[in-house]
Amino acid sequence: MPNRVYRSAAQMAARQRNISVSEFFSKNRHLLGFDSPYKAVLTSVKEAVDNALDACEEAGILPEVSVEISKVRDDVYCVSVEDNGPGIAEEQVGRIFGKLLYGSKFHKLSQSRGQQGMGIAAAGMYGQLTTGKPMRIRTRTGRRQPAWEMLVSIDTAKNRPEVRKKRKVDWKKAHGTRVEITMEGQHRSGAHSVERYLRLTAVANPHVSLRYVAPDGSVHDFARSSPDVPEAPTEIKPHPHGVELGRLIHLLKHTEHKHLGSFLREEFSRVGSVTAKQIIARVDGLSARSYPKRVAKKQAAALHRAITRTKISAPTTDCVVPIGQAQIIAGLERELAADLYLATSRPPAVYRGNPFVVEVGVAYGRPGDAQLELDADGRIQKRPAPELDAEELIAAPGDPVALMRFANRVPLMFQQSACIMTKAVIDTNWKAYGVSQAKGALPIAPMALFIHVASVWVPFTSESKEAVAAYDEIHKELLLALRECGRGLKRHISKHKRLQQEHERRTHITTFLPHIAHALGEMLELESVRQERLIDSLDQALLRRRRKR
């Protein structure tokens, strides 16, 4: 056996030190969606756009966002995102962009696109790590304020922002923010492209005007189709049933309230004095006057159990803002050419104390696929095939349906199979609605499904926010919404099938009209003009019979 060197506790202690968040990130960047160069570009765009839209909506501004990706050199791209939002106070810029886990969203429970305050700083850090270049930020908070431009980088060891070259600039924008990050990256088209992401964003946000300038210089405009800024979601306190023990201990320890009773009433939603008393009565040795900090040490677990066992009314649900049926259909119509648009917006429900809303939209049938329609005369006409976009969001005939997943209006681009939304689609019995489906698979139809989960806290399966975790309550609501759309779909499909059959029948009958005219012509020695007229009268008579029905 070779001699082994064992270390003492003191020696080990010498090697133990703080891990900075930034260091952690650079080693675990896949957790945040920066695992490959092309995904890094997409994630950066995504984070910047999410922030821009959140800021605009919070300020009640109709968002106008422009995204530009330009190639610096091979495998290095510059991503810039500009909005017309409220701008950022100049002294905050550094912290917002140059410090991980800094922001307003993590500590509050409110429906917003971003959640952790991780995203845009992480994108900036990724750029810095791969190219050494800082972020370039330009922002202006109002017409009377100057526009500021500065370079922001992150001290990765200390998780601290470094702001350089801060200066006032001329900017024709009255307010807004522009972020520019240079990073190692790759550009792709297709299902996971920036363009697809923006297009899906346009579907779920009909009030947003988007412009995309691709690396090849081509410009894609996604025009606004609805003039209404969504209602601002209200902020709520956590519901007791959604609070885990660790969080409860944290809250007890840091509360400013001196008594347990007021702590419960003030820190949580849906707890009044009666409910607070009921909870406290379930724990031996605690009273409404107990000191929260002491409870945290001794009886927090008992208190947590007591909370779980006490019946507390469901959280208010007005804090979740659905897109709404009309807006979903407007969004679908804006980007997808289809025969049928359907949407369902479920009433709010609750998982683990968090209110949420499920919405489902359907775009069915590609208008190019030999569609039939009844004209005003009652004749069945083949609808001419319209010009199709190069990028078709509706599945081709014979392919599984295309899924468009959204969480708080943000498109989810990856990990489709890990998502509860996908599972709910598979668990729906599509055959009952006239759509074919193999067991345990997505249905096969020329269809796109729009699925949206909105919540004050969307339970993602990971920090990269690509799939929603499997909560029974969410699954159930998804099934209900999908079934409702399925019923509408069935009506459409069977109507179309009827039309198809009717068309075949009519064509079949019409085939024989010339023969009838010919035979009558032979027997009664009719001229060919009269025979032609016969065919015409027969056709007219058939049409009249159909109209009667």
């Binding site: 024989f512 023969h515 009558l520 032979e522 027997m523």
Partner: protein, 383 residues
């Protein structure tokens, strides 16, 4: 008997008097469709229902005929093709009737192959449509042969006191065939008997099942001695034979006696079809049935009376089934108690006897003994 002077009866050709009728009947049907269409309505053609459940029999009428039920053919998805085919087949037959041409069912089927998507895919389809057309025009007294559709099979052989006249289609000269001057051969009934002029001074018609028996009676000039006309049925008689016998029976007012095997097939198929027609041809039995025919033999009673018991064969299962079916389902036999008795007698004896069984008593027993004895007691003939 043969020397007795008698004025021959004469029958004019049927077709000449009715030349215009088949064409006009078809034209009328076509005109009614045309008028409907030109009024801006959808045409519907109505045909007698040829379903067996629509077949009626009453002894007063004397043959199977169709009841009042009809079926409609309209421009619907499942009938538009047949509708058009019906009209095209009518157009074909109008042309044939007008020009005097003809086609067999098989030929008509092949003519349709030039009709594009309107063509028939199986001959059974064109046969069915033809039957419908025939049922339609039969209401106006027209049948298929007059439309130019002739059967594949020719008629049986005829000899005896009969002169058949017709015109040579080429020269227009009248040709006459004396069926009593044919040597050992016989006159063959043509497919279309309407154009024939028939002349006879016979007393009756003897319709015989088998060719062998026909030949025996012919060779011994049975028809001369008994002043009759012999017709060979050759199994279940063809349309031509039936129509020919019908004209002899009706136009010349001759009694028709049927001489067939004593078995369910001879009785329930051959004789029954000759006399009252069949259910599947109920729409034309009015032209083909011979209601005045009666059954000379061989009867079950003959087996006893002529001691033929040791010349019989046991009834086969198929015979018994056919006999029981006749008793149970055939409206003709159900309407005639004497037939029920006779068939039940055959079933109880459990045997069948062929015409040739009479040869047990000598080859010419049938000529010398059997037929004279039977003809002398015509009231024993079964109805």
């Amino acid at each position: 008997m043969a020397s007795k002077k008698k004025t021959p009866k004469k029958s004019r050709p049927r077709s000449r008097a009715a030349t215009a009728t088949p064409v006009r009947v078809l034209e009328n049907a076509a005109r009614s469709v045309l008028d409907t269409v030109e009024r801006g309505e959808l045409p519907v053609m109505e045909f007698p229902s040829r379903s067996l459940s629509n077949v009626r029999y009453s002894p007063q009428v004397g043959f199977f005929q169709l009841g009042p039920r009809t079926k409609r053919r309209a421009l619907r998805a499942n009938s538009a093709k047949t509708f058009a085919q019906t009209l095209r087949l009518m157009a074909l037959s109008k042309e044939m009737a007008a020009t005097g041409d003809f086609a067999t069912k098989r030929e008509a089927y092949y003519v349709s192959k030039n009709w594009g998507e309107c063509r028939f895919t199986e001959q059974t389809e064109s046969d069915a449509v033809m039957d419908d057309v025939e049922a339609l025009v039969s209401r106006d007294g027209v049948f298929r042969e007059q439309l130019g559709f002739v059967p594949e099979e020719h008629g049986g052989s005829v000899v005896g006191n009969l002169v058949v006249r017709e015109q040579d289609p080429e020269t227009g000269r009248t040709l006459s065939v004396d069926c009593g001057a044919l040597g050992s051969g016989a006159y063959t009934v043509p497919r279309n008997v309407e154009a024939l002029t028939l002349e006879s001074n016979a007393d009756f018609v003897l319709a015989i099942e088998t060719g062998g028996m026909f030949q025996r009676l012919h060779s011994h000039r049975f028809w001369r001695k008994h002043r009759c006309i012999l017709v060979e049925l050759a199994g279940v008689p063809s349309r031509a034979t039936r129509r020919f016998v019908r004209r002899l029976s009706e136009d010349l007012d001759l009694p028709v006696f049927c001489f067939v095997d004593c078995d369910p097939y001879g009785i329930a198929n051959i004789y029954r079809t000759l006399k009252v027609g069949s259910g599947s041809s109920a729409h034309v039995n009015r032209f083909f049935a011979v209601p005045k025919a009666s059954y000379l033999g061989v009867t079950p009673q003959d087996i006893i009376d002529f001691e033929l018991a040791d010349a019989t064969h046991p009834l086969q299962a198929v015979d018994i089934k056919r006999a029981e079916d006749a008793l149970k389902n055939d409206p003709f036999f159900r309407a005639h108690p004497r037939w029920r008795v006779a068939i039940e007698q055959m079933l109880s004896m459990g045997v069948r006897a062929e015409q040739q069984a009479l040869a047990k008593w000598g080859l010419n027993f049938v000529i010398d003994e059997y037929l004279p004895r039977k003809l002398a007691a015509r009231d024993t003939f079964l109805p």
